[in-house]
């Protein structure tokens, strides 16, 4: 059972890294970006290409995946997304669904429609056995990397100047602008960073989540659950939500396989009825 | 004196701030009662509590003796307590004809009628046109609300409230934001309100208050500070001090 817990934690932390960018974009710009999964997919495919075809070491491919997705995110943000910020939520939904469809078809065209796997180095395969608990090496790596990222994120937000500018811009962008904070750059950099994180998550997750062109569609609901249940006003909210979701999904599929994802969707609906603003967010000030 | 609207020890607290502090107000039937006070005194919060937009932390609200504290906003409107908003809240894509038509049809209980075409009841249309004439809106009857001049929108705001045939009408700064040349129409409309409607007026403009009100309550920091006839309130040195204090603070 502890193995399940361990796997669930790994899955949850991976979800957190994947979804954190979405949480920030939503909280920051009140923008519903359903295409977030596409950036994750991009990172995953970059890693697959680097490791499988070019022989780049796995660990080295991770930062490259991050950068690639961040760059794509930055470019798209400055060229396309920026025109859609002021539009209605319906427009944002339509726009990002359009991007998802385009990215899914593009991935299909370029990479083929079958699932691909990363050639994970031997050192990361298999598991340790610690007092009866199977600790998968790959999953351990995920926990370590994601854990470090979470701490780093919290640190950046709470203790750096960029972090305080970001928090100011989230709380009230008009006032932030008035204070001389270049809100546009904050948005662009944050979006790029969030996309990069998604790409990193995609790279890490390819092995355990499975990577194919329908990735953005399959996992869209998971990211959305993390963000709506966890709320967007802190790091801890989505973090806890991801853990709950990760453990719940793994445990659910193991113990009650006939129900599968049923459990997740039901929990989500119940939570949203009970607390529409999310389980962990403070009351919205706006 | 029959009391039309009464609050009993109304308190509203949020996040440690007391927005309404033990407000016990009695408004006589048919009165022209004004509520004044410096900015941030809690006047709009009080209106929100009276109309059900916000729930009180404690205290009760009675309409013609009936406790309405637990009723929702739309239920209160049906019971006869209607408000206007300080910043226009109108239906931008509907015309004044449609807006008043909607209010009247809702009041008549025809809101759930999904079969009859709007406008097929002549008695309803008569009433709608009559209200529009009273508020001098017939020249813009067919225009989308969004394109109307601000003064006309403000008139429409009041007309919509009247179309609901309220027992008690809460006017939240009716002349706010209206340009000088359009103010007289608003003031005339307010002065011409039917005498059987009880009116609670929130205003900053003292000229309007003194020409219109027969009773004034002063709200400061969420609590009722002074209450009396216009002459009594005008003479009261404490009232002057509160307003002067505000002016000094602004300077």
């Amino acid at each position: 059972m502890l193995t399940i817990l361990f796997d669930g934690i790994a899955y949850g932390m991976l979800l957190f890294v994947l979804a954190s960018g979405l949480a920030v974009t939503l909280g920051l710009m009140n923008f519903i970006n359903l295409a977030h999964g596409s950036f994750a997919m991009a990172g995953g495919y970059v890693t697959v290409l680097l490791v499988n075809r070019l022989g780049v070491p796995f660990l080295a491919s991770l930062p490259i995946a991050f950068l690639a997705s961040a760059v794509i995110g930055f470019v798209l943000e400055r060229t396309l997304y920026v025109h859609v910020y002021r539009k209605s939520h319906l427009d944002q939904v339509l726009f990002t669904i359009g991007l998802v469809f385009m990215s899914v078809a593009a991935a299909d065209y370029v990479m083929g429609s079958s699932q691909v796997f990363v050639q994970v180095p031997a050192s990361l395969q298999g598991q340790f056995d610690i007092s009866g608990i199977g600790i998968g090496r790959y999953r351990l790596l995920i926990i370590v990397i994601c854990g470090l990222l979470t701490v780093a994120l919290q640190f950046i937000l709470a203790y750096t100047r960029f972090g305080s500018r970001l928090r100011a811009a989230v709380d009230d962008s008009r006032v932030a602008r008035g204070l001389g904070i270049n809100v546009n750059w904050v948005f662009a950099l944050t979006f790029a960073f969030g996309s990069g994180l998604a790409g990193l998550g995609g790279a890490l997750g390819a092995e355990i989540l499975g990577l194919d062109p329908t990735f953005p569609l399959k996992f869209m609901i998971y990211f959305l659950i993390v963000v709506t249940v966890g709320g967007t006003s802190s790091i801890t909210g989505p973090f806890l939500a991801s853990l709950v979701l990760g453990i719940g999904d793994v445990a659910g599929k193991y113990y009650v396989p006939t129900l599968g994802s049923f459990v997740i969707y039901t929990i989500m609906i119940v939570v949203l009825i009970w607390r529409p603003q999310g389980l962990f967010s403070r009351a919205a000030s706006r | 004196m029959t009391v039309a609207l009464e609050t009993i020890n109304l308190v509203k607290r949020f996040n440690g701030i007391i927005a309404s502090n033990n407000v016990s107000l009695q408004i006589a039937k048919g009165a022209r009662h004004a509520l004044i006070g410096p900015n941030g005194a809690g006047k709009t919060t009080l209106i929100n509590l009276l109309t059900g937009v916000q729930r009180p932390t404690s205290g009760r609200i009675l309409l013609d003796g009936e406790d309405i504290s637990a009723r929702s906003t739309h239920e209160r409107v049906r019971l006869g307590i209607v408000r206007t908003f300080q910043i226009n809240q109108l239906f931008n894509d509907l015309t004044p004809l449609e807006t008043i038509g909607l209010a009247v049809s809702e009041r008549r209980g025809q809101g759930l009628d999904w079969w009859r075409i709007v406008g097929s009841r002549p008695d309803l249309v008569t009433e709608v046109v009559e209200i529009l004439e009273r508020f001098h809106l017939t020249d813009v009857i067919d225009k989308r609300t969004a394109v109307l001049p601000y003064g006309k929108q403000r008139l429409l705001e009041i007309a919509v409230a009247i179309a609901c045939r309220p027992r008690v009408l809460l006017l939240d700064e009716p002349a706010a934001g209206v340009p000088e040349d359009e103010r007289h129409e608003i003031l005339a409309a307010v002065a011409a309100l039917p005498s059987d409607v009880t009116v609670l007026l929130i205003e900053h403009d003292m000229d309007i208050v003194f020409s219109f009100a027969d009773r004034i309550s002063v709200l400061v920091n969420g609590a009722l500070f002074v209450e009396g006839s216009p002459e009594e309130v005008a003479r009261d040195p404490r009232v002057k001090a509160v307003y002067l204090g505000e002016e000094l603070a602004d300077a």
Binding site: L26 | T73, W115
Partner: protein, 348 residues
């Protein structure tokens, strides 16, 4: 002091102007019915356009008129489809029109139950909840394979003749006439609904819910009502699909369906009832054309169309599809307004 009779008459005409049948509408429906006789070789695609148009119409009721953004409208569509297919397969109800009505009622029941979920929360919450319900149903259909046929779909469905008289054929002749008739009847009902006081109250709720409740409208009750009706319409559309193809599969619940539906409605324009129908026509022809060119990658072009529509601006797109209506109504309105204003000023 009563206003003069002429002002009242004019105001009445004005209020009911929205509800008057415009010439273009009559042309549209005459054309649609004429196609039964004049375009027999296109009946298969026209059948698809008919139920897709009905499905889009149901979304228009909640999105265009009540402002609810739903990513899971396929839930009701799929439920209607499976209900109709199961009723036929197990010979519980043999006559298609009866089965259609029952499927619609089942979907309405689901709509009623889930309507409470869309009352609270932000746009994002509603999106999530509607999506969640659709995915949940899909998962349920997947798991209950013994009932639904699971991933393979429900096989072995035979549909008996409509009203006992009109047999379904493989060219879609009966299918088209059947779907078009159902669509037309439901359209008429929807048309009355949106032009009624209830419909006007929906538009007010969409435009300013705060103001609506301030004139005594119970916003929640209205939304529940329209959501339920729209769910019923979607369910009937799904049942039409099942009955004309004798098949139902999991993808009736899929996100793709809900997303395509949004596109269909947006192409045609939301908020005037014909948007869904026009959008269905455009979408189907687009799909037909593009799937010949690029069968596998046609989602790419759909996505591109969505992105372009949003960037260009939805209002600009839809204004192209209703130019004549606008001109006609403008002329009407100006004339009426002048007459009312003139009659009032005469008396002052």
């Amino acid at each position: 002091m009563l206003p003069p009779p002429i002002a009242i008459r004019v105001a009445t005409e004005w209020l009911s102007a929205r509800a008057r049948w415009q010439p273009l509408e009559i042309v549209f429906w005459l054309g649609a019915f004429a196609a039964i006789y004049l375009l027999p070789e296109s009946h298969l695609i026209l059948t698809e356009i008919a139920w897709l148009g009905l499905f889009a119409l149901s979304l228009d009721l909640i999105l265009g008129y009540a402002g609810i953004i739903s990513l899971g409208h396929a839930a009701f569509f799929g439920l209607g489809a499976y209900t109709a297919a199961l009723l036929a397969k197990h010979e519980i109800i043999n006559e298609p029109v009866m089965a259609l009505l029952v499927s619609g009622l089942v979907a309405m029941a689901l709509g009623f139950v889930t309507s409470f979920l869309v009352l609270r929360g932000s746009d994002l919450t509603r999106l999530m909840v509607t999506l969640g319900v659709a995915l949940l149903l899909r998962e349920l259909a997947n798991r209950l394979g013994w009932l639904t046929g699971g991933a393979d779909g429900l096989q072995g469905v035979t549909i008996k003749p409509v009203l006992g008289m009109f047999r379904f054929d493989m060219f879609g002749h009966t299918g088209y006439a059947y779907c078009l008739t159902v669509l037309f009847i439901l359209f008429l009902i929807a048309r009355r609904l949106v032009n009624s006081p209830f419909g006007l109250s929906l538009m007010s709720v969409k435009g300013n819910p705060l103001r609506s409740s301030a004139i005594g409208i119970s916003v929640d009750a209205r939304l529940i009502a329209i959501y339920t009706v729209a769910a019923g319409y979607a369910g009937i559309a799904g049942a039409l699909l099942a009955q004309t193809t004798s098949f139902a599969s999991l993808e009736v619940f899929s996100f793709d369906r809900s997303a395509d539906l949004l596109l269909v409605l947006i192409i045609g324009g939301a908020g005037y009832l014909y948007g869904g129908l026009i959008g269905a026509i455009i979408f189907k022809f687009m799909q037909d054309y593009l799937s010949v060119l690029t069968p596998q990658y046609w989602p790419f072009w759909i996505g591109l169309v969505l992105v372009v529509i949003v960037l260009v601006g939805r209002e600009r797109i839809t204004s192209w599809t209703t130019p004549v209506r606008r001109i006609a109504s403008h002329l009407n309105w100006r004339a009426l307004a002048h007459r009312i204003a003139a009659s009032s000023s005469e008396r002052h």
